[in-house]
């Protein structure tokens, strides 16, 4: 048996709740009619050992973005409506997506969910999720 270094972040990437939701959604045929979209998301670790989630949410009002953490699941939710009548004839091209979105990510238990910060700039939502102090790498001295 080979020992594989446990990477909590990998868990974050693979255990994305969305996929499960999509799977179940398709299965139950529930979400097919609702107008939904999926914002593009990048996740990386920065030099301060924070997980950074960047989500593309162009033209959303800050009050229309909901961020919640429950049982180590971080959920981003929101809604966007077109400023023109999408059912009428006042438009010539619609490529942008409107309606509601929801994305959820399982956080590794090394993070401090109380210290998550969020900023919205130029249509990008940036979430900073710091790791807990006791989860940071530390040196252990060998006693005599």
């Amino acid at each position: 048996m080979t020992l594989v270094r446990w990477n909590p972040a990998r868990e974050l990437a693979t255990m994305e709740v969305d996929r499960l939701q999509q799977m179940f959604g398709d299965w139950l045929g529930g979400t097919a009619t609702a107008r939904t979209w999926t914002p593009a998301v990048d996740i990386f670790e920065n030099d301060s050992r924070e997980y950074v989630i960047k989500a593309e949410l162009p033209e959303l009002k800050r009050e229309d973005i909901q961020i919640s953490v429950e049982n180590n699941v971080l959920t981003l939710k929101g809604e966007r409506t077109a400023e023109f009548n999408t059912a009428g004839d006042g438009y010539h091209r619609i490529e942008r997506q409107y309606g509601s979105f929801s994305r959820a990510f399982v956080l590794p238990n090394t993070v401090d969910t109380n210290a998550i910060s969020a900023a919205y700039k130029d249509g990008v939502l940036t979430l900073r999720i710091p790791q807990r102090e006791d989860a940071k790498p530390r040196q252990i001295q060998v006693q005599e």
Binding site: E45, P58, Y91, R93, D122
Partner: protein, 147 residues
């Protein structure tokens, strides 16, 4: 009779053709994704004050990285988006956002006044407002009927 709607449809089809043209040029040579090519989604609609509005989603860009030109009735939006500097590739756990350069061109109908184009970048969306020429606005023509 040519209605405004038809002209607009022309704008849309011309743009498709342009993109296809660019698409085939890309196909001939190299892989578009390898070059980092992306296509921002665009909405085009008309407002009540007779303006044609083009909105392109370009989140996370600096204003100086957006280049907008009007030449021979062709509106071209070029943009370059760079990834956060200093983050090594192995530090990424998920990369769904697309970076690199993009370019989209739109042929303007001659009903719009290209000299009065206004552009604004806010909350990751580039809004281009093209006022419709006064003489192109719908107007009533009175016919005097004798007798």
């Amino acid at each position: 009779m040519t209605s405004q709607w038809d002209l607009m449809r022309e704008l849309a089809t011309m743009q498709d053709r342009m993109n296809r043209l660019w698409g085939t040029m890309h196909d001939r040579g190299e892989d578009v994704t390898a070059r980092g090519g992306w296509q921002p989604p665009v909405d085009i609609f008309e407002t009540e004050d007779k303006e044609v509005v083009l909105k392109a989603e370009l989140p996370g860009l600096a204003r100086e990285d957006i280049d907008l030109t009007v030449e021979n009735n062709t509106l071209t939006v070029r943009a370059e988006r760079r990834r956060d500097d200093g983050v090594a590739a192995e530090r990424y756990h998920r990369t769904e956002r697309i970076f690199g350069t993009c370019s989209r061109s739109f042929t303007l109908p001659n009903t719009v006044d290209a000299s009065r184009v206004k552009a604004e970048y806010r909350d990751g969306v580039l809004s281009i407002r093209l006022p419709v020429r006064d003489e192109a606005k719908p107007r009533q023509i009175h016919v005097d009927v004798a007798g």
